[in-house]
């Protein structure tokens, strides 16, 4: 402030002029001969933190979280309807029960659950599981060339199933987890993921300069996809365990549980990240030399 008071008359205006000329010159440096924008090199590009970005990071996830909370009850009803529809044809018990789970103090959710018992594996099922394990291991070990990663996946599954086989050979009933508890646990985890999803999208997608409708679009895709996936995933798990005994549970839980849900997001995220942002993120994407509105404005003021 002291410096400003001592500034001779006219200097402020000159500085303002110089600053404006500097900005114009800087803008012209990024303008191509045909009026297009010279893209910055990819090593130089970055994003700018702005108040609107801060709003996107805080307010949007909060709105989405409240929306999920508000829709939880109808969602549970929808899940119940889906499970009720599938229960008969798949022979998954006589009724759909309800488990009330406290997510937080004074926040409870009534999760539908199949009323089915999982059985300890019979001798035939044990043999079947061993055959399955051997097939996984052998196929996994013989895959070559471009199928090597698939081979690694199959061998990892084989090791997982081998651990189950050994455990069920040595242990005595009962299995530590009842199928009803397992089924409800899957859906409760699903509810938790639905509540976390807005923050996940916020932390990993809203930070970029995509327009609002694309940010909301990915959120809707993700929440919608997961909302449909969870009851179907629980149904498949329960059906497999009911028909192939508890020996199927460890692999389903550890490999095809939350990990699968995460990869639903990875897949949708990978797609969404390939959308055009129309802003800074698109700067390194090759475009025809059409002057942007901002560039025309800067040129005319210069």
């Amino acid at each position: 402030m002291a410096a400003a008071r001592n500034t001779p008359p006219g200097v402020d205006a000159a500085l303002t002029d110089a600053s404006r000329r500097g900005a114009a010159a800087s803008a012209q440096r990024r303008q191509g001969v045909q009026g297009g924008r010279i893209a910055p090199h990819r090593s130089m590009i970055g994003l700018r933190a702005s108040p609107s970005l801060l709003l996107d990071l805080i307010v949007l996830p909060a709105i989405l979280l409240v929306t999920v909370f508000v829709l939880l009850e109808p969602l549970m009803e929808a899940w119940r309807a889906v499970m009720e529809t599938l229960r008969g044809p798949l022979d998954l018990g006589t009724a759909i029960n309800t488990v009330v789970v406290d997510l937080a103090p004074s926040v409870a959710v009534a999760v539908p659950v199949y009323n089915v018992e999982g059985m300890w594996p019979s001798n035939a099922q044990m043999i079947g599981s061993w055959v399955f394990t051997i097939v996984l291991a052998v196929v996994g070990a013989t895959l070559r060339g471009g199928y090597v990663p698939l081979g690694y996946l199959l061998r990892a599954l084989a090791i997982m199933q081998l651990a189950s086989n050994v455990w069920f050979m040595l242990a005595e009933p009962p299995f530590p987890y009842a199928l009803t508890v397992y089924g409800s646990g899957l859906l409760v985890t699903g509810v938790v993921i639905l509540l976390l999803a807005p923050f996940l999208v916020g932390a990993t997608f809203f930070v970029f300069d995509f327009p609002l409708h694309k940010k909301l679009g990915l959120s809707a895709l993700l929440l919608g996809h997961l909302a449909v996936l969870f009851p179907l995933q629980a149904t498949v798990h329960v059906w497999l365990i009911k028909n192939f005994s508890m020996i199927a549970m460890p692999m389903l839980f550890l490999i095809f549980g939350v990990l699968l849900d995460v990869f639903v997001y990875v897949a949708l995220y990978g797609w969404a990240m390939s959308w055009r942002s129309g802003r800074e993120l698109d700067a390194t994407v090759r475009r025809p030399p059409v002057p942007s509105r901002r560039m025309r404005r800067v040129s005319s003021t210069a």
Binding site: S43, L47, G146, V148, P149, A163, W167, V262, R286
Partner: protein
């Protein structure tokens, strides 16, 4: 007893992975929103130092012509540049090619031909460098194709007397060859565009990657030259320079194209070699780095330790999986009910996702929009890397002193007439290590 051990093991694994997750997020956010530190990129004129460019080669007849042609076409002052292709016992016609170039450009191309001594890149470099007195030693692998301005860009940081080494960015050339090359393109983008640049921005420990970079001769001499018993002479020199007080600089703008492995077998061999070499460096320097005798800033010590540990993480991850399986079978219930479910779910979702976030951000910065769609397939790449690195990291050779280090060369895919099956185009990408 087993339950206690498994619980402790699981929490250790979760803690270690949480630290690396936070690191991924922090680096990515820094790269996206932080101030880019590229202090030397604008230097275009000056009293350029003398430079010797070393190109170690062992049976590289298919690719070395491209590399030498590119080096000869650079705009570095002719009287200050000498190119030293180092032929180490090639059994193909690499040597004849080098002699041909030497005959045509006797003042600029001075091959160093080896028929004896210890084999391996580090030994070859050590021997050749002892015969040259240039101020700066740059190193390019024989399959690399430097652009015309690259040598000036890489030499410019050495105007700063505190800089001991410089590293440029490695960009895959054969991106479209297979799913693997596409995945490596994404991984390299994350490693260079985000990881290395964030470390440069934050004043941490950018890594000299052994190619597309170089060292100051006086710094190299001060720290004792290349270690010939090291499988990762690049990481080794990074840490020795760091602990001798030299700066290692990363130049994101200085790009050079390379071939990445096109088949999984080659990739597995490559990453296992990196893992063994990196773990040797961990064994050699972790204690000294933590004791910090020259009082490095704490942030550099922490980053240095985390960087040393990257190839141990897969072992920790597998330990965590085993502990989780044990706890699952023993029926141990979470102690805090829904909070534990929330914590585990949070980690599984946000935690597992950090690496994908980094890679996607890097590719997006690169303008490689559509390539990000293969992101889910990175799970397969992670799976292969995890098991391959875990196997290498648990091997004896990973931790014991090496007696015989031989050439362990990554397969080349270009043919001698210059045509490869790669169809990359100049918008590729880069991971903390080159081939």
């Amino acid at each position: 007893m087993i339950i206690t051990l498994a619980t402790i093991g699981l929490w250790i694994a979760v803690a270690v992975l949480a630290v690396y997750t936070a690191r991924h997020y922090f680096f990515t956010l820094n790269r996206l929103f932080g101030r880019h530190r590229q202090p030397y990129v604008d230097i275009v004129a000056g009293e350029w130092p003398t430079v010797a460019v070393f190109v170690p080669a062992h049976n590289e007849s298919a690719v070395i012509r491209d590399s030498l042609d590119s080096l000869l076409a650079t705009d570095y002052p002719r009287d200050r540049l000498v190119i030293v292709p180092v032929d180490d016992r090639s059994s193909d016609d690499t040597r004849e090619i080098l002699l041909d170039y030497a005959a045509r450009e006797p003042y600029r191309v001075r091959p160093h031909l080896r028929d004896g001594g210890q084999p391996g890149k580090a030994a070859a470099l050590r021997e050749a460098m002892e015969l040259h007195q240039a101020d700066i030693f740059l190193v390019f692998d024989a399959d690399y194709i430097p652009g015309p301005r690259l040598l000036r860009q890489l030499a410019a940081p050495f105007f700063d007397p505190e800089v001991g080494a410089v590293m440029g960015r490695v960009v895959p050339l054969n991106v479209g060859s297979s799913l693997l090359t596409r995945l490596l393109d994404l991984e390299r983008a994350g490693g260079y565009q985000v990881d290395q640049q964030a470390r440069m921005n934050l004043g941490l420990v950018p890594q000299y990657g052994g190619t597309v970079g170089g060292v100051r001769r006086s710094a190299l001499r001060q720290v004792g030259g290349w270690r010939v018993d090291s499988l990762a002479e690049d990481t080794d020199i990074t840490y020795r320079l760091l602990m001798a007080g030299w700066e290692v600089v990363y130049q994101n703008r200085s790009e050079c194209y390379e071939e990445v492995p096109e088949t999984w077998d080659v990739r597995i061999k490559q990453i296992q070699r990196w893992a063994r070499g990196h773990n040797q460096v961990l064994r050699n320097y972790l204690g000294r780095l933590v004791r910090n005798p020259i009082r490095l800033p704490q942030r550099q010590v922490i980053d240095g330790v985390l960087l040393l540990g990257v190839f141990v993480v897969p072992l920790v991850l597998i330990m965590g999986w085993i502990c989780a399986i044990v706890l699952f079978f023993t029926g141990v219930r979470p102690q805090w009910g829904p909070m534990a479910v929330l914590a585990v779910s949070s980690f599984n979702t946000v935690g597992n996702f950090a690496a994908f976030f980094q890679v996607a951000a890097a590719s997006r910065l690169d303008g490689s929009r559509e390539r990000i769609r293969v992101l889910p397939f990175m799970l397969l790449g992670f799976l292969v890397s995890t098991f391959a690195v875990a196997r290498a990291s648990s091997s004896r050779s990973s931790w014991m002193q090496q007696k015989d280090v031989a050439w362990d060369k990554t397969t080349r895919y270009r043919t001698a007439n210059g045509n490869g099956n790669g169809n990359g185009h100049g918008n590729g990408n880069g991971h903390g290590k080159a081939s």
